[in-house]
């Protein structure tokens, strides 16, 4: 029987190195914890997989953004040059597609690039000025040289005492409660 405390966001374990964090994340995930997250000062290869994160929709967002940019740029030029404002220059065709390629290309890049940045931030839920993990004073070094693993209280397997014991078994520097 799990005892849930609404004022607790989760349990945080602090590690000294990237290797320890990845190993701990693997073990925690393998132990059946689903709602976990790991924090590090720089991207670590394989860490996202270790906490069971596989779905990454950023490429799809960029693809859609780029396609919208490219198609709308070409459509706009076609509409302007052929339908609404045709200018006859020496009898050349109105639909002179080679000269439309550059603007189409540029707007594909523009929309694709903006969707990459905005999409990444929105999927990450940023900007988010407040987050419970910042309540732990040691977490200030998550952007410096320390590595953190958090098991959220919302995890079905979470139990204040058992989870703490499990995290202590991973040989962290410390385990702290994260107030929400």
């Amino acid at each position: 029987m799990n005892v849930k405390d609404a004022s607790i966001y989760g349990l945080m374990a602090e590690f000294d190195s990237a290797k320890e964090l990845v190993a701990a994340a693997h073990k925690t995930h393998a132990a059946g914890y689903q709602k976990i997250d790991a924090y590090s000062p720089f991207p670590i290869e394989g860490l996202a997989e270790a906490i069971g994160f596989h779905k990454n929709s950023v490429p799809l967002v960029v693809l859609i953004g780029g396609l919208i940019g490219g198609i709308s740029a070409y459509a706009l030029q076609y509409w302007v040059a052929v339908i609404t404002y045709p200018v006859n220059i020496g009898g050349r065709p109105f639909h002179s597609w080679p000269s439309f390629i550059i603007v189409t290309f540029e707007l594909t890049i523009l929309f694709g690039g903006l969707s990459a940045a905005v999409g990444m931030l929105m999927l990450n839920g940023l900007p988010m000025p407040y987050h419970p993990v910042f309540n732990v004073p040691e977490f200030a070094r998550a952007s410096e040289d320390k590595f953190f693993l958090v098991v959220f209280a919302s995890d079905p397997k979470y139990d204040a005492a058992q989870t703490r014991a499990f995290l202590n078994g991973l040989a962290p520097r410390m385990v702290a409660e994260v107030p929400s």
């Binding site: 220059i89 603007v103 903006l114």
Partner: protein
Amino acid sequence: MATNTQIPVADRRVPVIAPGHTFSTIGEKISNIVLSRPVSLGWILGFLIVFSGMNMLMVALGYLFIKGTGIWGINIPIGWGFAIVNFVWWIGIGHAGTLISAILCLLRQTWRNSINRFAEAMTLFAVACAGLFPLAHMGRPWLFYWMFPYPNTMRYWPNFRSPLVWDVFAVSTYFTISLVFWFVGLIPDFATMRDRAESTFVQRIYGLLAMGWRGSARHWHRYETAYLLLAGLATPLVLSVHTVVSFDFAVGIVPGWHTTIFPPYFVAGAIYSGFAMVLCLAIPIRRIYGLQDFITERHLETSAKVMLATGLIVAYGYGMEAFMGWYSGNQFDSFLMWNRLHGPYRLAYAALLSCNIFIPQVLWLKKFRVSTGWLWLISFIVLVGMWLERFIIVVVSLSRDFLNSSWGQYYPTKWDWMTFAGTIGMFLTAMWLFVRILPMISIFELRTLLPESQVHEAAEVKQ
């Protein structure tokens, strides 16, 4: 603890980061330049000088807006004077920043991590300077928005078949994407700055910019994908921008402009001058702020090699222009070459050949590639040479076209020079502020270069 801080040097080259650094010393060294280093007298004096340069630009532009482009030396047949020369020069300088940040990122050239941040800043400031010139050259700059397609009461639409309209799209996209790329790269470093800042005010500012970045593994995963995709998008973009700029010339029929070699030749020239500017900035900055640990001899030497290579492509371009002048049998093309060598601008052409082709050949010798003084001087010479190249392309071609009756001569006025020098002031003012306000080297990317950041053995301990 990250006690083992020795970096194994696999090869005999100078390492990208000097040995002895840990995750926290990297953050400390870079962020302290902004957070705790006192403002020195030298910085203030330098700032006053470059800021007066920027004010000179304001005066020159203010007078231009009152009087019109008649204050410049331009007239028919030479309607494209300094404004276009400087536009092409500045935008070319910007190219090295994107090359370093995007192309070298895709090619996994990790040495780029120490110089990409300020090279990208350089790109932004250079493109901002470049953008001023076509606006000022417009005559009625307050109507610049007429270039964009939008429904208007004149029932007019831009001509999408014109290279000048392509330019609007290329340059504005380039600026926007460079800004986005730069900002995305800064987000994790803003978080480091936020956590290191001591005063609440500074903490709030960086906290606001970091947008709550907390280094979550999920965030990093999406972040890296987005960054890689941005690099992938910026790579064709940077190659396209100077290509489109070269179309402004190549699509015209003026001798010396109407050639198919222009796009690759312009792109190579852009990277050439851009690396020269990177070196001109990096050499003094690393000395003043003691960043020799992060911007090592290897960075300078590699940049010098890139300069040498792109310089040779540019030399090939000059050679081809001369060859085609002879081989085409076209009297106007061959006259153009004769005019460059013997005409009224022959001194500029001779200086161009010396600055861009002959002098930089000393970079074949290692002695010049590793000596900061020599390298700075050669980079400066290349910058001058590349400016002269644009001057020759724009002015010499226009001054002698097909009919003798429409020949002319161009003399820049003091307002031309003030505007040009003023943009250098504006560029340096922005750099001056940048090094004191933002982390000028990417902290998190440098950290990934330390061996402790690698987890290959740990990844095998899967259960």
